[in-house]
Structure formats: C-alpha cells, structure tokens
C-alpha cells in the first residue's frame, strides 16, 4: 500500500488548525482585504429581464464627487437577458459616493418580452434568452434502453405515475463573489485577492484578459468564504475590478452585495418531471420512464444529470426511457452547484421509488436492497478497488449500518400510519459521486534548520479542511503533530493546482502532499546521515525523534536533528505523474489514481421529520448519514463535511427557492430574509458514520453528502403524511395543498 500502513494521525479526528483564526476574525478573506489607497467599484445592472440598451449616458456620473474610473461592459445596441445583467461599472473613492455615481448614469432601454417561469418558457413561441434557436428550448434529450417497449409496463405488479420537482435555488455564498485588484506602478503586474475556488485559474484568466506575460498575475486566496461551484474564475466582476484598477491606478475592491450575490452569483437549475415506474411482485423495478424539464436560466447546459437517470439504481433496471428538455429563462446563468444534476436526479428517482413501494406495501429500505445496482463484475475483475465493482456491497453494508443507527425497523411505519396533529416520518435516499483527484497539484515540503516545517501549494481552502489535511499528512510522515506544520496555501505564486470542483481537492492534493513529504523526509535523512557519519537506512523517524540505529538507537529530537543539517533547509517536491498516457507511466498512474487516491463513492441517508398537519410546517428532527470516502485523512473533518452537506440539503428541501416576478422578471427575494435559510434551531441532530476503506485511497466527499438529503426529507414527509408533496421546497402552502387534495 502506498500510504503508510501504520497510521498514527491519518484517519483519526483532528481539529481544524485554522478554526480559531476563522472564528476570531484573524483569518482575512478577500472581502476583508484593505489595501492602501483602495477605492470601491460596483456594477450597474439591467433592471429589466430582457431589453435592448438604446443609449448610455455617463456624463453626469463622471462629474460626481469621488468618481475615479468607468468601465463599459455592454454598449448601446446590446441586449440584456436578465434583471441583473452587467452593463457598466464605476470606481469611486467611497462606497457611498460610488452609489451616487451609479445613480447618475442614464440608460434608456427598449424592453422586450421575457420569461422567468420555466413552465411558461416551455410554451414560448419565441427565443427570449439570446443566442441561436427559435424558442427557449435548447437541449432535448430523448433516450431509451435497447428494446424498451411499452409492453414492459405489462406484467408489473404495481405501477406508479407521479410528478416531482425541485426549484431553482441560489448558491448564496456567505462571502460574496469578487476580488480586490491592485496593479504595480508600471501596470505590468497584477495582484488580486479573490474569493475563488480556483486560485491559479483565476490568475491565468486575468493574465489572458490583459495580455500579460506568464507570472505577471498573482491570485491570493488564503481563506475562502463559501463556494459550491460558482467561483472558478474572476468572472465579469473580477475582470471589471482589474480594468478599473488599471484605469484608476489604484487598488479596487469589487465584491458583490447580497442582492447581487443572489441575483447573479449563480443558480442551481430546477428540475420537474413526470415519472412512470413499475415493479414485479418481488419489488424489482422493471421499468422507469421520465419526462422532465428544468431551467438553468440563460444557460444551455443540463439541469439533471441525464446520463444518470434513473439515479443510482439505473444499472439494475432493464427498461428505461427518459426525455429531458432544457428550457431557458430570463434569469441569471446556472453554475455547477455541489454535485450538478445529482440532487435533481435523486428527487426524480428516490421519491418515485417510495411511492411505488407504498403501492406494493413494501418497506422502502427492503425495496432499495432489492434494487441496488449490481456490482459490475468486469470492473471488479479489472480493479477490485473501484466503486462500480463493489457498489452493491458498499450500499448493502451502509444500509445495514444506518438501519441500526436510526432503528429503522422500530421507527418506520406505513405511510400516513401515525396519529395526531404532529406526524413523524422516516425517509431514505442513496447517492453516488466520483470524487477522484488529479493533477497538476505540485506540493513543496520544506524542513528548515530552525526546526520548522512548511508545506506549500497553491490549492485553495474551499472545503475548510485543506490546511489541516495537508498538515496531517506531512506530520504523519515526519513524526510530528499537525500543529507543528506551517501550511501556506491559496497563492498562485506557488505554482499550478486544480480548481476545487467535483470533490477533487483532497484526493488531488493529498497524494502529492504525501509524496512531497516523503521526498523531504528522505532528503532530510540523507543530509542527517552525512552529518552523523552513517547511512540513511540506519535512521528512522519515530514520533518527535530521529532514531539512529548506527549509534545505539540514539534518539535525536526532531528539532535538534534539524539544527544538525548543516544547510538552511531541505525540500521535497512532488506532483502528479506527467504525461500520464505514456506506457511507461501506466504503473505510476495506476498507483496515483487507484491506490493513493480513487474515484467513486456511495452513501445512504435517512431523515426523520415532524410535520404539523394543521399548519403544514415541516421540521427535520433527526438525520442519519453513512458515507464512504475511501481512505479517511481527518475523520472529524469528514463528519463535519457530511453534516454540512446535510444542512445544505435540508435547506433546499424545506426552505430555498428563487422566486421571480412574472411581470418584471425580477427576483423578489434576493436576500436572506425571504430567500429562506435554516438557522441552528431549524437543524436536526445529525448522526454521521464514516466508512473507512483505506485500501481504496483518498476520495473526495465535498459533493456526495448533500445529494440525497432533500429526497430523504421528501420521502420522510411522504411517510409522515401518507400523501406526496410533489415539489421541493416542502413549504407550508405546499404541504397543506397536498393534504387538502387527499381530503
């Protein structure tokens, strides 16, 4: 095994090294950066959901006190396609003067028709969202399995047809999008402090925009205040800040305000579908048919993960027919959000399975055990550590664990079987994700003569675990404690790194961190051996000491050994193997991709809800999650990551929805007041069990733990009430409507 076999630190629980800094405000985020002479910028946005800009008059604004610079994004004659679309930006001395400047700009529009409701846009005879196409429907998927025939529906013991869906939601990052941009005097070097989940990519994009030589743009993201897939580059606001900073020759801060963050910071697409599903008397699902649509605003991309519908169970279902339409609307673009398409897939699959189970009078846990996707034998033969080859085994084990954790056999009842005003229900859902890492993620570990150890990589702290994970691995190899490792991350001057997307950060960086630490250790022992007149093989590292077998097992404290090096420092550098497709690299690649790290996880979640049948208010009262992530580095961080995913999922199950006004096309809740997010009182006790499968290597779990949560909550509501609430969020009005329909 390429990881240490006896792991002193890896796999145990460690507190976040930067927790106190973040909690006390010592940690400085991009939003906190204050540079000398810094001025402020803001973007003037379209108030209309669809319009042509007739004219722009900035003369008055440019004469306002405090005005510093203007940057035009769209010229007269251009179209805007959503309320919030960028038109121009101004930089001014203070935020207050900036607002006054922006309000002095005069823009005339010709207002054009728009659609903000996907069901209406679906019927639109025209294209209101720009680009090619006669209508707003841009993507049509229409696929069926071989030999799919309506005859598959015959012979099913039970069938169910139902509508399911989930609304457009906002990324709602707590630290909004944006950056502080600062040029040097000669306008040749640009430094940005950005809120980004892709540090080098942000620097590179700005370098390209401004035609600068390599190395001339530096991006710094020491801490990161929330990103779920919407912060992979400088974006318009970041580029705009850099333009304004260059014009004004002063550092410019441009961070979105809350309303902007919600209206332009990225949405997750909606998904609505009609599902027809049937099973044999045994409970085995015989067919699954879905006709669904969704909107990602003006984006053209998928809203569900079409290839993975039906979700999780697809490989075991013989007849599948699916149709999907991407309907554009005059709202902002969608951004990949924490497992893009997967939560939507889970909604369109898991809820239908519970409805079908009810028709068969089957326990939904048994129903799932019957329909688990089988282990892929070819995959298992090729590599016994990959997920498809063992998925049924993993899910089965996880279901058994969660069954005991939540006492399913005692607590589950038939749908609607409870009594009283407050009804309790249990619901479950499964999920899967990739989470494999990749390169480049060069990491440098430096052991200094003064006894300090420094680990450096440009990778960002997206998931709040990165600093600590790096320290744990280095400390493991060097016989130290994580708190003894200095970790410098989030700076593009440290070299390339992959963006934190797809749950790839931990697997992408942990392997190179391990190799860099081992290389540094070897260099350290080599240098030390020279000073001790022995061979490196005679030296070994134990916690806190170097043991010299050549000298009566002399134990030299680590710090003292550093002082004996005779050089200022020794270093270890490592990165993913380059040119991975060359034959001679195949073994190396295999080691990095299936032993050091891996790909593919499964998880099982169970929600308990209490539904007030008089008010329709749903409260999630307890929640259980069992999650596999291959080899665990920091157990506490993993559990925390899972709990965070669950909290996010409960929010979009119960509270979150972007609400748009038909007449104006404007979002009416671009805030945290009526764009509802649960607080601590709204969250259940969350019980997490981590599967530790170290033989598989490190796999990321940024995404997986949020995928099935909303579906589990939806099924719990169904179990409590005996009636399906079709669309998330499961708000009081929707719950009461569903109850009224039953009566």
């Amino acid at each position: 095994m390429p990881w240490p076999v006896n792991r002193r630190l890896i796999g145990r629980s460690h507190r976040r090294l930067d927790g106190p800094d973040k909690a006390t405000g010592r940690a400085k985020y991009a939003f906190d950066v204050k540079r000398p002479r810094m001025i402020f910028a803001k973007i003037l946005r379209s108030p209309h959901a669809h319009a042509t800009i007739r004219s722009i008059d900035t003369a008055a604004a440019e004469k306002m006190p405090g005005f510093r610079a203007l940057h035009i994004i769209k010229k007269a004659g251009a179209d805007v396609f959503f309320a919030g679309d960028e038109i121009l930006a101004i930089a001014a001395d203070t935020e207050e003067k900036l607002d006054d400047c922006l309000r002095a700009v005069r823009i005339e529009f010709t207002v054009l028709p728009h659609y903000v409701k996907e069901s209406e846009s679906l019927r639109s005879p025209t294209n209101t969202a720009g680009g090619a196409g006669a209508t707003n429907i841009v993507g049509v998927g229409d696929l069926a399995t071989d030999n799919f025939a309506e005859v598959a529906f015959n012979g099913a013991a039970a069938t169910h047809q139902g509508d399911y869906g989930i609304a457009v939601i906002s990324h709602q990052c707590l630290e909004s999008h944006g950056l502080v941009a600062e040029w040097d005097d000669k306008l040749q070097n640009l430094t940005v402090w950005a809120s980004t989940q892709a540090v080098p990519a942000t620097a590179e994009r700005l370098r390209v925009v401004f035609g600068l030589q390599p190395g001339r743009v530096r991006c710094i993201t020491n801490y990161m205040g929330g990103g779920f897939g919407s912060k992979f580059g400088p974006d318009i606001q970041g580029e705009t800040a850099a333009h304004l900073a260059r014009t004004a020759r002063m550092p410019v801060k441009l961070m979105l305000d809350r309303a902007e963050e919600v209206t332009v910071g990225g949405i997750r697409p909606s998904a609505y579908g009609n599902v027809y599903i049937g099973a044999a008397p045994s409970g085995q699902i015989k067919f699954y048919k879905v006709d669904c649509y969704g909107t990602g605003g003006t984006s053209r991309g998928q809203t569900v993960n079409f290839g993975l519908l039906p979700y999780v169970y697809g490989p075991g279902i013989p007849n599948i027919k699916r149709k999907h339409r991407v309907v554009r609307t005059n709202i902002q673009i969608s951004r990949a959000m924490r497992a893009p398409g997967h939560p939507q897939n889970a909604i369109l699959t898991e809820l239908a399975i519970d409805d079908l189970a009810a028709k068969l009078d089957k326990n939904p846990m048994e129903m799932r055990l019957i329909n688990l996707p089988p282990n892929d034998s070819a995959d298992a033969a090729a590599n016994p550590r990959t997920f498809p080859g063992m998925r049924a085994t993993i899910y089965r084990r996880e279901i058994e664990i969660i069954r005991r954790m939540c006492n399913w056999d005692q607590n589950w009842h038939r749908p609607g079987a409870g009594q009283g005003t407050i009804r309790t229900g249990l619901g479950m859902a499964l999920h899967t994700w990739g989470g494999g890492g990749n390169g480049p993620n060069p990491t440098r570990v430096t052991i200094n003569a003064n006894g300090t150890v420094l680990a450096q990589s440009s990778s960002q702290d997206l998931g709040t675990a990165q600093r600590t994970v790096t320290a744990i691995i280095v400390a493991e190899i060097l016989g130290l404690q994580p708190s003894e490792i200095m970790v410098d991350i989030g700076d593009s001057s440290f070299g390339p790194s992959t963006g934190s997307g797809g749950s790839t950060t931990c697997p992408g960086t942990s392997a190179s961190t391990l190799k860099a630490a081992e290389t540094a250790r070897d260099a350290f022992l080599m240098a030390l051996a020279g000073r001790l007149n022995t061979q490196p093989a005679m030296l070994s590292i134990e916690p806190g000491v170097i043991v010299n077998r050549a000298n009566n097992n002399q134990r030299i404290p680590f710090r003292q050994a550093c002082g004996m090096l005779g050089v200022p420092s020794v270093q270890g550098n490592a990165d993913w193997p380059t040119v991975p497709d060359r034959a001679q690299n195949a073994a190396l690649r295999e080691e990095w991709q299936t032993r050091l790290t891996n790909l593919g996880v499964g998880g099982v979640q169970v929600a308990e809800v209490k539904v007030d049948t008089e008010t329709g208010v749903v409260r999630c009262s307890r929640f259980w999650a069992v999650q596999d992530c291959g080899m665990i580095i920091n157990k506490l961080a993993c559990e925390s990551q899972v709990a965070g995913g669950v909290i996010m999922g409960i929010n979009y199950a119960l509270y979150e929805e972007c609400i748009y006004d038909r007449a104006t096309g404007r979002q009416v809740n671009p805030d945290m007041e009526f764009y509802k997010l649960g607080g601590i009182q709204d969250m259940p006790n969350i019980y997490v069990h981590m599967m530790d499968m170290p033989e598989r290597g490190v796999i990321g779990i940024g995404e997986p733990p949020t995928i099935g949560t909303a579906a589990a909550v939806g099924n719990a509501v169904f179990n409590a009430l005996g009636v399906r609430v079709p669309y998330a969020p499961y708000t009081p009005e929707r719950v009461l409507a569903a109850l009224a329909n039953r009566r």
Partner: protein, 334 residues
C-alpha cells in the same frame, strides 16, 4: 445610500422639534433594523435622520398597580425577558421573543416595531411598481403574493401588517402615548393606531409626520392572554400569520368575557376579529369553541392568487392562541 444630516437629541421635545410636517425628508432612527435597510435600497432617502437613542426617557419600563408603561425605546429583548411583563402579558413577551433573531431583538425597539414599514418585496425593490412609492399599480395583486394580505376587500395595496407586538397590545387594551409639536401630547388606542396605506404620503400608522410615539401604556386587568404565530423557520423568520388573544376568566371551565382576538400579517393593518370574539364571548373555552373562533376569524377573507393557505393558518393560530391563554394542553408540541 443618500447622504443625510444626523441629529441625536437628548429629549423627546428636541426630537419633535426636528421633525417636519411632511413624510420623507426626515426619518426617525431607533434600532435601525428597518430604516437602514430602506436607505441602502433607496426606498427611504431622508435628508435628515433623527436618532432617538440619546433620549434616556424612552428606555424605561414602569410596572404599576393599575398599568404598565413601556418606553418606545425599550428593546424587544428587554420586553421578552422582563419578569413582570412575562407574568402579566405573555401575549406581548412571547411575541417579542419570537421576533427575528437575537441581533434584531437586541437592536429593535417597541416604537420601531409599531412604526416599521411593511415587508412587501415589491415595496422594497425600487425597480418594481408600487403604489406606496408613487407607482400606478400594486405589483403584488397579480404577482408573487404568498406572504401578502388575505383580507383584501377595499384595499388597493395588499401589504401584510408586520408588527407582532401590535396584536397583543390591542388585545390588552393598550394605548400609545404620542408627542407632537408645541409639547402637544395625545393618547391613541392601539386599536386605532394603524392605517392601511395607499400612496406615497401614507404610513402604516396614523401618526402625523411631526409626532413621535414615546411609549405605550397597558392596563393591568388580570386578563388571560397569549400570542401564537405560524412561522416556517424557528431561526430568524417572519410569521406567516400571527394572533394574540386576551380575555377575563376562560380557564377551568369558567366563561371567558371581554374577549379580544387580534390578527396580524393578514391585512394591511392588524385587525380585531369581531366574529371570533363573539364566538368565544361568555363561553368556556373548549377545543370546539377554539375551532369555531378560528373559523369565525376568517369570515370575509379574500385571499390572493397564492395565499389561500393563510386562511387555514389563521384558523389554526386563533385556535392555538386561545388554547394557550385558556391553559389547555398544547397539543401541537410533541
């Protein structure tokens, strides 16, 4: 935010002397939980802001034998936690304790709660048509209105009244003490305090632009009282509907008299549910009576396209508020 001149007087008389005879150019600032957001969104654009935080006389709570006086500047947190108020007026203190979150309750004040602007999302978006901002139509009537009024007859603007202290104060028969120019003092029944606005020159209350509320006086009559609000979230949320009730007797099989049931978040002003009052008056409070009162409370409701569910919620909130005030088991808490 438009620039403004800031004043911080130390007496109510000084504060009143700084006010003008028209709305808009001068605004009063207490906790700032409403005004600052309105200013940032350019919904309020005052040239002068008069802070009330320097007036010590607005910060007192006086508990007497006959009545209780609460200064307009007393924070919601103090009201919620005050032992005498909790004993005498749970309708008031439970409502105060439910408002927003701790940050809002530590800053927000009694006077601010009564005089705050409505929360309509069209009113608070300067780019949306709104009668109260001088527009020619109400966007909510045909638009997104799931949180708006359900008692809409004769209302061109369908905001939902936002104050949750108003219901308890009205039910308890409280009065507001008001100070105007030339030291002119007047007392307004809380029941007459509120106004359904229809245009930019209206506010959600009946004060003149150059008057301030200095406090409220609540008679001590030994009424059983309670408030109940239906809210979707427990952390920092607005009620969807809110109800306060007060009556004499009404416990242990005794008949309830002087029944007052007041609803909030259902109409442009808090409303006294006369039909519900009659359904309970001179009756012992039972589950059936509480249900009947809830049904009577919603007679005449004309919900909008998306808020019919609030009719049901009013019925439930009336029933639950009566249940609490009558000392019956809280069947919904399990």
């Amino acid at each position: 935010m438009k620039n403004f001149t800031y004043y911080r007087p130390t007496t109510t008389e000084q504060a009143v002397s700084l006010l003008e005879g028209r709305w808009g150019n001068t605004e009063l600032l207490a906790g700032g939980t409403d005004l600052l957001a309105l200013q940032k969104n350019y919904i309020a654009q005052p040239g002068r802001v008069v802070s009330l935080t320097g007036i010590a006389g607005l910060q007192t709570i006086v508990v007497g034998q006959q009545n209780v006086q609460i200064g307009a500047g007393v924070t919601l947190a103090r009201i919620a936690d005050h032992p005498d108020l909790r004993r005498l007026f749970p309708a008031l203190t439970s409502a105060a304790g439910d408002i927003g979150g701790p940050q809002i309750r530590n800053m927000g004040t009694l006077g601010g709660n009564l005089c705050q602007r409505n929360r309509c999302w069209y009113f608070r978006d300067e780019h949306s048509p709104c009668l109260l901002r001088g527009g020619n139509r109400c966007s909510a009537i045909e638009g997104e209105n799931k949180y708006h009024a359900i008692f809409t007859a004769n209302h061109r603007c369908v905001i939902a009244s936002p104050s949750t202290l108003a219901t308890g104060l009205i039910a308890l028969g409280a009065t507001a003490e008001v100070l105007g120019p030339q030291n002119r003092r007047r007392t307004i029944q809380l029941a007459n305090f509120f106004n359904a606005p229809t245009g930019p020159n209206d506010r959600e209350h009946n004060l003149a632009p150059n008057e301030i509320v200095t406090g409220v006086t609540i008679p001590v009559r030994g009424l059983n009282n309670a408030a109940y609000e239906v809210r979707q979230k427990q952390s920092s949320d607005w009620p969807i509907v809110q109800v306060a009730v007060a009556f004499a007797g009404g416990r242990n099989g005794e008949k309830a008299t002087g029944v007052k049931i007041v609803l909030s978040h259902v109409a442009p002003t808090p409303i006294i549910a006369d039909g519900a009052n009659r359904a309970v008056e001179n009756r012992a409070i039972t589950d059936a009576i509480a249900v009947a009162a809830g049904q009577a409370a919603v007679a005449g409701a004309k919900p909008l396209s998306q808020n019919g569910y609030k009719v049901r919620l009013v019925e439930v909130a009336v029933k639950r508020a009566l249940t609490i005030a009558a000392g019956l088991p809280r069947y919904w808490e399990v």
